[in-house]
Amino acid sequence: MKIENFQTYVKDFAPSIPADTYNADEVLAATEEVSIVSVAPPQGLRGAITRVSILDNDTTDSEISVLFFDQNVSIGTEGAAVTLADADAERCFLSWNSADTNGEPLGGNSIYKTSKTAYIHEPKYFHSTTGSIWVAIRHGTAGVVRTEDPIFLRIGMVIENIALA
């Protein structure tokens, strides 16, 4: 017997981040789509993110917040102040801060000499009307020089109502 739904899916995602000097409460990565399935079922795609690995190749120790949304909502453009309406903030189903006491702080489980890693362990459920979720990153520390595309996310999830190949 084979259960065709409730399948594991892993998505690697490197958000586009311009090399620049970033200040507190600025957008580090504007909202980007993370496509999970190309065609969602009519009732939308349901599932849960079960784990996220966060790798920061910069050695800045600067604060970041990674935000996951079930709709495409803007938090602004890279290098500009974060702007997020309350109604759009309600679309956030998972947020993680690098100094977070609920998850692991960035660098807490570093396996490299220069990069920092952290993990989000808690399942967070989403119901997307399309086959995608969206990710954005806020920068939290003033006057930090960032290289291009320094952050890498590995997103593990369980998809419930669609059979994956």
């Binding site: 017997m1 739904n5 009732q43 849960a48 917040s65 079930d70 956030c92 947020s95 006491t101 609920n102």
Partner: protein, 159 residues
């Protein structure tokens, strides 16, 4: 073969409450309904609450405690201490206290670490109250919380 039960439901509920100043242990928002499923099988609705995201739209950001119950019974006066009878205390499914807030400009999210909270209810709803868990905080917006729950239901099919 597709598995039609053990599906997840995401609920989103805006809380209304009396704008007030609260101190630790006082009631911010009295018990409010969170509908999980509109139709309930004869044997009741079973499942677990597996994830919680609370959006503090006013951005106060103090830690709060969420109390999950099976009944809508009041837990006291908003802005005052909790009052609950021994009998009603048996209707509490569980608690979750948030950690530090996560900033998002004016809003802040509060995501308590949570172990799954099981329920077996005769209606399609659970009820939630919010308590202040930190020092004194002033809330001026009477609909400043939006609660998102990730719930797995065992015995109803979700489209």
């Amino acid at each position: 073969m597709r598995l039609d039960n053990f599906n997840s439901i995401v609920t989103q509920t805006d809380f209304t409450f009396t704008a007030t100043t609260t101190t630790a242990g006082q009631l911010i928002a009295d018990t409010q309904e969170v509908e999980i499923h509109s139709s309930v099988p004869p044997q009741g609705l079973r499942g677990t609450i597996n994830s919680v995201v609370l959006l503090d739209k006013e951005g106060v950001g103090t830690r709060v405690t969420l109390i999950f119950k099976t009944t809508s019974t009041s837990m006291g006066t908003e802005g005052g201490g909790v009052t609950i009878t021994d009998a009603d205390a048996r209707n509490i499914l569980g608690y979750a206290t948030t950690g530090l807030f996560r900033p998002m400009t004016t809003s802040k999210t509060l995501e308590p670490p949570i172990k799954p909270i099981p329920f077996n209810i005769t209606t399609g709803s659970i009820y939630v109250a919010i308590l202040e868990a930190e020092a004194a905080s002033v809330r001026t917006v009477n609909n400043g919380f939006s609660l998102r729950l990730g719930i797995v239901v065992d015995n109803v099919a979700v489209a």
